[in-house]
């Protein structure tokens, strides 16, 4: 959305914006309140959710070194913060280029994909419980993008080179 708006800003010299362009602003403004509310909700539930996920992790991976679980949880917190921000500003590229391009190889190099995947599933369960279906619709595209780019891909070659 930010990108689309930027294009409109750059078009200021051409003419007044057309109705279809103004629609872009309206769509963003209409959904902004919902996005803000959801952002606040996700922010306020961060600690509770992370505590819950930490318990899930410890139960699910009793023999895994705590250092690895801590790192996976840290990655997950980062993912949630970026997904929430990307949802707020309605910008997939923000999530893709700022975080996923970076984190995908880090997760692969630490061989954390499986644990990260479990965290993702635990989290989806919690979100189903605490978010309305309208709210889930807002955040889902970003969670889905994370899953596609980071969790569904085979580990990149770099993991073998380290």
């Amino acid at each position: 959305m930010i990108d689309k708006l930027n294009l409109l800003f750059h078009a200021a010299e051409e003419s007044y914006l057309q109705d279809s362009d103004l629609q872009t602003f309206e769509t963003l403004i209409d959904s902004l309140e919902d996005r803000l509310n959801l952002y606040e909700k996700l922010r306020d539930m961060e600690e509770k959710l992370a505590q819950r996920l930490a318990l899930n992790l410890q139960e699910g991976y009793p023999s895994e070194p705590p250092r690895r679980l801590q790192l996976a949880l840290q990655n997950h917190v980062l993912i949630m913060r970026y997904c929430s921000m990307a949802m707020l500003i309605d910008d997939r590229d923000f999530l893709k280029y700022r975080l996923l391009e970076w984190l995908t190889e880090v997760v692969a190099a630490h061989d954390l994909q499986e644990i990260q995947n479990s965290l993702y599933r635990f989290m989806q369960k919690r979100l189903k419980k605490f978010l309305s279906s309208a709210e889930r619709e807002l955040i889902d595209p970003y969670l889905q993008l994370t899953k596609e780019m980071m969790l569904d891909q085979p580990a990149p070659e770099i993991a073998l080179q380290l």
């Binding site: 917190v77 975080l99 970076w102 984190l103």
Partner: protein, 225 residues
Amino acid sequence: MLDVKALLSSPKISSNYYVNEAYLQGDFEAGLLESRAGDRLLALPDTFLQGVYSGIEDELGAAAHQVLFSCGRWWGKNFYRRFAREMAEYHGKLLAELEMINFIQSLKQCWKAHGLGTIELDMQNRDQGFIVVRSSKSSFAQAAGKRDKPSSAAEAGFFSAFFTQLSGEPLHCVQTACESAGAPFNSFIVGTENRLRVAEAGIEEGESHTNIMQRLCPTVDEGEE
């Protein structure tokens, strides 16, 4: 017990410092481009780089390669200092203490953010004392025009100085494949000068990167060109 409170109260969870929109800043009124740490950046025109090649070669002939290599060394040494400072400030620890994957990712993203193309670091032969760097879309190789021999000497000098600073050992670098000679990417081998003589001789004889790697590391099956 996982420490959630400590995790959430830490000032930040470090990720990609070199995100384009965040890294490239500017004091536009003063006509300056700057990094997010306030260091000056410069957009260098391609035609100027072509001029550098043509000017140096006209004046110096065969010594041009060595001059560009020396320029690259100067660049690499100072680039390392800036990179190390930026990483230490951002991650809150010394570059040497960064995990290998964070170091590699940061360097790759840093290279991209500066508009230098992309690089990959291949550590497969690290135990034998060699690192292979592959770069693509190199502005140096592009400015050199079509050549028979590798021509991105500034980058070779860069990697030589950069890894010398990083390791604390004097390291040399030889370019073994070049976009200007029709290769899909540029390959550079970093190692000690003594051991890289074989590679330099190989380049003179027109050998491929794969063959040179096999001569340097005979037990390793280097599958890539």
